[in-house]
Structure formats: C-alpha cells, structure tokens
Amino acid sequence: MKAEPEVNLELAKELGLTEEEFEKIIEFLGRVPNYTELGMYSVMWSEHCSYKNSIAMLKTLPRSGGPLLVSAGEENAGLVDIGDGWAVAFKIESHNHPSAIEPYQGAATGVGGILRDIFTMGARPIAILDSLRFGDINDDHVKYLVKGVVRGIGDYGNCFGVPTVGGETFFDRSYNANPLVNAMAIGLVRHNRTASATAKGAGNPVLIVGAATGRDGIHGATFASEEISEASEEKRPSVQVGDPFTEKLLMEATLEIIKEDLIVSIQDMGAAGITCSTTEMSAHGDSGMEIDLDLVPKREKGMTAYEILLSESQERMLVVVKKGCEKRVKEIFEKWDLPAVIIGHVTNDGFVIIRYEGEEKAVVPAKSLVLGGGAPVYHRESRRPAYLDETRKFNPDTVPVPPDMQDVFLALWESPNIAGKQWVFEQYDTSVRTNTVLYPGGDAAVVRVKETKKALAMSTDCNSRYVYLNPRIGAMIAVAEAARNVVCAGAKPLAITNCLNFGNPYKPEIFYQFKEAVLGIGEACRAFGTPVTGGNVSFYNENPTGAVYPTPVIGMVGLIDNPECIVPTGFQHEGDAIILLGRNREDLSASEYLAQVHGIVAGDAPYFDIEEELKLQAMTLDAIQTGLVCSAHDVSDGGLLVALAECCILNAAPIAAVVTIIDKMRRDALYFGESQSRIILSVHPPMVDELIRLAKMRGVPAAVIGTVGGSVLEINSDIAMPLDSISKAYSLSLPRLLK
C-alpha cells in the first residue's frame, strides 16, 4: 500500500485549510493530526459543511416561532405544522459546482440529496421544485448544460416517483460556465412520527444502510468551496453518481423502520459522507461513536480509510438503532434488497474513533469538527461594490420609446426568460401520486394533501437582476414575489427555505451582496410572518470572468385550508371582468425589457414598498377565500403585457381578452415596467362591485381594465394578436433556442 503523505501546513493548504485553521486543529487534538484526520477536518471545515463565512449572518434570520415545529439547523430540514396532526418538512439545496462539470449526474444527485434530507426526517416526499440559472442560451456549452441538467433532474425524480411541480429557468451571461441548480423538496409527516438526527445511548448499534461505498465524490464538499476554473474539469471524479431506484428502495425501508419505532436517529450521507454523519450525529447528542471501516460494504477493493471516510457515494444513511431492534431493521432492509450493516456503536466520551485494518485511523472530538462546535466562524469584510454607483446613474430618458409596442411585446414574449418552459417541465413527471392540482407554468404549484383535506401551494423565486442592482431590496422582492405567487393560488404563506448562491465571500464586494441580501430576506420574512425553515449557502459561484448575479432563491410554502378555493393563473370564462390590483408606476429599472430589448442592465431594483405589498396580498387572499375570484396572476418579469398574455394561455383552453389601460406615462414603462405589488384578477361580472368595494376598504388600488373573451388579445390600440399565434410563439420558442 502507498505510504500516507506527511501532514504539514503545505498539505493542509492543499486540502483547502488555512494556516490559522491548521493551528486550530492542532490545538483541538493536542497534536498534529494524521492524514486521515486532516482529511476529516478539511471537509468538515469546508465552506459547504461548516457555513463558516455565512453562519453569523444566517443567525440574523427569523428561524423559529410561527408554525415551525423544529427550528432551522436543528435537524436535516425544518418542520412546519399544517394542522390535523400533520407537518411538512421542506428544504432547498444547491448542486451548482457538480452540475457545472457533469450536468446530468450533478443535477440528478442534487435531487437525490434533497429527497434524502426529507425522508430522513420520516417524511414522505410529495413534491420537488427546481430553480435553475444558466448562461447565454446561444452558447453551445450552455445548451449542453441545460439539456444535461433537465434530463438529470427528470430521470431522478421520475424514477423515484415524486412529481416535479414547479421552479424557474432563467438565462443570463453571468451564469456562463457556472449554472445554478437548486432543488427543493417537500415531504409530509405525522407529528409523532418524525425522526431525529441526534445520536444517543451508549452501546446502541450504528448501522450503515443503502448503497455500498465507492470512490465517487471524494472531496466533493471541498470542491464545492472553490471557484470554478479551467482546472475544474479535472474535478469530475468529485461528482457523485446517482441511482434513483436504490434511493426509492432506501426511502421505503427508511420510512418503515421509522414507522415501527426501531431507531434512535438517522442521518443521510451527502457531503463528507461517513465523516459528516458520524461527527454531526455524535456532536448533537453529546456522544461519540466507535466505527470499524472494515465492516462498511464497499464497491471496490483497496480503498483507504481516508477514501472511505470522505466518499460521497449516494443513497446511503447512517442509523443509530435501538439496542435489540437490529434484527428487525435488517429484515426490513432485506425485504427491499438493501444491505444494512452494523459498523460500530454509540459511546459517551464525545470522541469519534475510526478503526480500519487493525489500526486506529482517527480519534477526534466530535464537537471540534462541526458547525456550532469547533468549526471556525468568520465575520468577513464587506464593501459596497463600485458598480452600484454606475448602475444607479441610469437615466430612463436616454432610452428611446420604441415606435411599435407589438414588436417589443413579441421580442420579449419569445425571449428565453419569458417564453414558456414546457420543454423543461414536460420532461418531468408532474402528476404521479395524483395530488397535483395546479401544474408548472403558473404562479404557484398546488398539491393537495389527501390526509388532511387541505392543499399546499409552493413556489421558488428570485429575480437576480434586481438583487444585483440592489441586494437588500432585490432579496426582499424575492420573498415578496414568492409570497405573492402562493397567495395568487389561494394560499396563506407559511414559511420559506432559501438557497443563497453568491460568489467568493473573501471578496468584500461579494460579501456585501450576501450580507445585504440576508438582511433583506430577514426583514421581508418578519413582515410576512414566514420564518426560515433552513436552507443552504453556495459561495464561490464564479467563473474566470467574474461572479454570478447574487441569487438568493426563496422557496415558499403556503397552506390552503379549503381546496375549493384554489385559484388558477389563467382566465377561465368568457365575459369575466379583468381587474388590475395595485398601481402602475413609470419605472423601467432592472426590467427584462431593458435587458432584452435595449441591452441595458441598470437602475435600481424596481419600485417596492413592503406595506403596499402586504395590503395587496392580504386583500387578494380575502377575495379568493370569499369566492370572488376566478383567476389570479401577479405582474412580474416582463411587466403588465406579458402578464396579461400569460393569463390568456395558462389554462386548459386558451381564451383572449380586450383590455383598455388609460395612463399618461411613457408606454414602454406602462407595458413592460416591473414595478412591484400588482395582481391581475378575473372576476364574474356580478362580483365586480363587491371586489372593488373590498379593495377600496383595504386601501388597494383596483381598476376594471377589460373583459375576457374572444380569440384576439387586444390592448389599447397597440396590440392585436390572435390567440393561436401567442400560444405558438410562447411554446415553440425555447425548443427552437435550444436546438
């Protein structure tokens, strides 16, 4: 066997540790770590596992209270009460770096990882959403990434058997070579059937269950904590390989052992594999573990302790079983044709001790490795980026108003960020489990909960151009839009999960974006009463030309008490009145229109007032719950005209409308500006008066702007387009661009 490398500062640096961190390890151990131990610290103290540069800011978020049963960070995913003895667990996670190098497996294992986080809690996954960002769609490499990522997500979720019901797909040059792949999963669990990730009870056996351990994904967590460069291609072996069939079996077996109350705790193995699960479970329970790596089922011969401990092979779990229940646990795994092997036991001395081939390979205090214990916490320097001064100088008067609004509308309508995403979501199974009520494409997806006669609305949102131009307000808008989307479906916003995708936090300008965005999320979440259940931070999203747009993706879940009050996005009936809630403002800032048509990314974030937004959402929800509303759709990317056209075609049977909007402002701002807090409703004519009365009473501007019907969308004298050509342009654009 090859001799192990000598441990010194140089090696520590190679593994991504700093000098200060290396000294700290020596201090914890009272000696220089051996090679295996150094590897364990290097992954556990990587940004990905330790959140060392983000945790101080994350702690400012509202992370408990309200409907939360488990506070953020306590378990694998947050738990939110939905009444009747049921709770939902949900979380969003990034798999950006692996997807940049190996899009198919990177995206697939991203879905696999987030599903494990959910069923480890004892919850059966009921829905997946995917928030995706790619570079310039005209770039061949970007097309390759899009196709690989979408197929990877589809193949994993489809086989596993959970519907993928929503998400976003956004294209911008800043994501060239560094796509963002964020996957969110939601699961359902009875209050008293949740599982913990805390190891307790000296002598309880520790089992590894699921797939065998191989050499894939070694140092995946470390790789995710670096910028992407030309050398990243060599990191392909750091990307894990997914097997959704095994994951499906693992879920069924896991849910059975939790249901039969056979276990003390369970944790999935994602980043940092056995290292992370043994140390985190021990540290949470103030206990330790003795582990014998000889007993771990392996896929290949000759693996070293270092490799076994750092492997990120997928579809594995670490389980602490109640003493005496080992036999029954094994029987259940055998039924599902999966191995379940005792590899050690829980101790009470706080040390994780690893043995292999007759040697003690590692003796480390569990707490010294983990977040909240010995892992470093840094307060990084933050500096307002100079570009903000430039972008704020933007003067809309320098932008000419185009003569033909229909041409502008069509250009936007066919642009990749606005055009229909059927090419993406038709590759996902959206209807398995027979709960999907509202499908992808609209504001929020809605999944009914058979067990409670209720339903859940869910949405992921972030307009990263807004965040780039104003990190604080942009992040607040992301929360507001996510809430607005679930409100439009008839749901009360419950809680959020977030996936914070940023560049290198050691650059003060990047850290400024991060800090401001987290403050914005916190402020908005407090205002909406939606605590943060947990989430994920992904730094180092950079390529050789710079960082991606700051992209704090918000995953929102809302509750619908009465499924009869679910409201779709698109118009429903001929003759219904169209009502615009909220006020149009002359504001071109940060719009898709400026970016696509004029090639300008400038200005501030669009107009946003949180009080106005709260009033709008509360009033809309009331109107929906009292049965006044036939459809609801918010005005977001692309502005008013895009939203109106979407209302016409986002339904089973498209239907047009005749709209008159009277306003003196410049027409491109009226039609394509993205000022916030606006919703388009359709309402039965006899209900119009009551709705307007309600709006007035609640201080929300409301105006009847048209009537649903016919086969030509007419807006003032500027737009007259047959429904058929609107539909075709919308659905055919993306497949054409991706060819």
Binding site: C159, F160, G161, P244, E426, T430, S431, V432, T434, P563
Partner: protein
C-alpha cells in the same frame, strides 16, 4: 369487487391505483408484493406504473421474472382481468401477454402532459362503460412509450379491433401532431383477443377526480366493476358479502 395492485420494488403508481380502486371507485383493494405467488383471491390485477427494477436495462425487462408474474400469466389465461398501465404495459409486453414492444419516445425525451385519446374498442372488459369514439383527456408520463410491432402484428391488431385507444386531438382526429411518442398508428393501448388483458401508456388512475383536472379515467375502473357485476356468480358472491 377486489382489486390486486402488484408492487414491484420500483413501482411508483401503486398507491395511485390503490387510491382510485378503493377510495374513488369504492371497491376492495390489496397490494400484492412481487415476491409472492399468492394472488389473495383478487378479481382483477393492476400492474401499475413506475420503474419496476429501475429499468436501467429496458423497461419491464426484469419485472417479468418476478415470482408473481407466473401467477399473473396463469390468472390472465384463465380469463381474469389484467390491466397494465405505463410500466405495467411494458411488463405485459415483456411477459408475452400482449404483442409488440415499446421503444424510446421519438423525441428521445421523457414526456409528461395531458393528452387526448379516442376510444376504439368497447368490447374489452375495461371499456364497456365507455362509448366508441369517446375522447378521454388523460395524462401520460413515460420515456419509452413508442408502441412498435411488425407489420403482420399491426395488421392483426387492427383487423381484429384490438387497438383500444389511439392518441387524437380533442376533436377526435388522429394526426401525427397529436402523437406524443411516435407510436405506430397512434396506438395508446391494446387488448388481447380474449378481451381480458389491457395494456395502455396513459394513466387512467391519474384522472379519476375533477380536482385533478379530469375524471375521464374513472370509466375504465367502472367498466371493470360493471363486468364483475354482470357475471351472475360474482353478483351472488357480492350479495352474500353484503348479507354477512
């Protein structure tokens, strides 16, 4: 009536079929584990959708070797109704209960969406409550649903009216544009000359309630129940059940 829903390790539409049989159609329903050989006296078998064994080789190719499949073939040959949906259809083909094969979709992509199918055969025991030419709005979700058979087999299927469903427009026209996967003659489902085996790619169990956007799939379950009740012996059995 008692439905048996077969559970392969990678089945993922098993709960959906069970839900419709039990809670929507109001019948008895049991899960049958693939390693068993006891069909528990069920009156009809459903082979549900999913990825029976991960389907890394070819959809349904391994499932046919499951212990339960021998019993199901025997059950079908004795006239018992067997409904294969999606992956279940693939397993029916692999096990020889129906002819032909399902290739990768022409687009080479998985496709999931609502489509329309036209009812072509109302003699099968799964379609007797439907009417000929009726259009059903129903979801599909598959990567390998491109029905293919050699010319002679197609001639036989068409000549003997064994094609049960065809992809069509909402108005019932059978066009190339509305064929979602490249199937020969837009075939979406076929039956056996004995009319007691149906294989179909679309998912009737996913559209049996209005809240899900369509309840057109319920007719297939209702047809089975009607067939069951029409048999005098079964009716007597049911009455006896009610009395006790």
């Amino acid at each position: 009536m008692k439905f048996g829903i077969v559970v392969f390790p990678g089945s993922n539409c098993d709960h959906d079929a069970y839900h419709v049989a039990k809670h929507i159609a109001g019948q008895e329903a049991v899960f049958l584990w693939h390693k068993t050989t006891d069909l528990e006296g069920v009156d009809a078998i459903i082979l549900p959708g999913g990825f029976s064994y991960g389907d890394y080789l070819r959809a349904g190719a391994i499932a046919r070797f499951s212990p339960i499949m021998k019993e199901i073939v025997r059950f079908a040959k004795a006239g018992g109704p067997v409904l294969g949906i999606c992956n279940g259809f693939q397993i029916l083909l692999e096990s020889g209960l129906l002819p032909g094969a399902l290739l990768r979709n022409e687009s080479l992509n998985f496709v999931c969406k609502y489509v329309h199918i036209r009812v072509e055969n109302t003699d099968s025991i799964f379609t007797r409550s439907l009417s000929r030419g009726q259009i059903l709005r129903i979801p599909i979700a598959h990567g390998e649903g491109n029905y293919y058979a050699d010319e002679e087999t197609i001639r036989e299927l068409e000549g003997n009216n064994l094609v049960v469903f065809r992809y069509s427009t909402d108005a019932g026209e059978v066009t190339r544009a509305c064929n979602p996967n490249g199937s020969v003659n837009n075939i979406a489902g076929i039956t056996h000359p004995t009319l007691n085996v149906l294989g179909m790619m679309p998912h009737p169990e996913r559209c049996a309630e209005d809240i899900l956007g369509s309840s057109d799939g319920l007719g297939i379950f209702q047809s089975l129940i009607r067939w069951y009740r029409s048999s005098a012996a079964n009716a007597a059995k049911e009455e006896q059940c009610l009395e006790t």
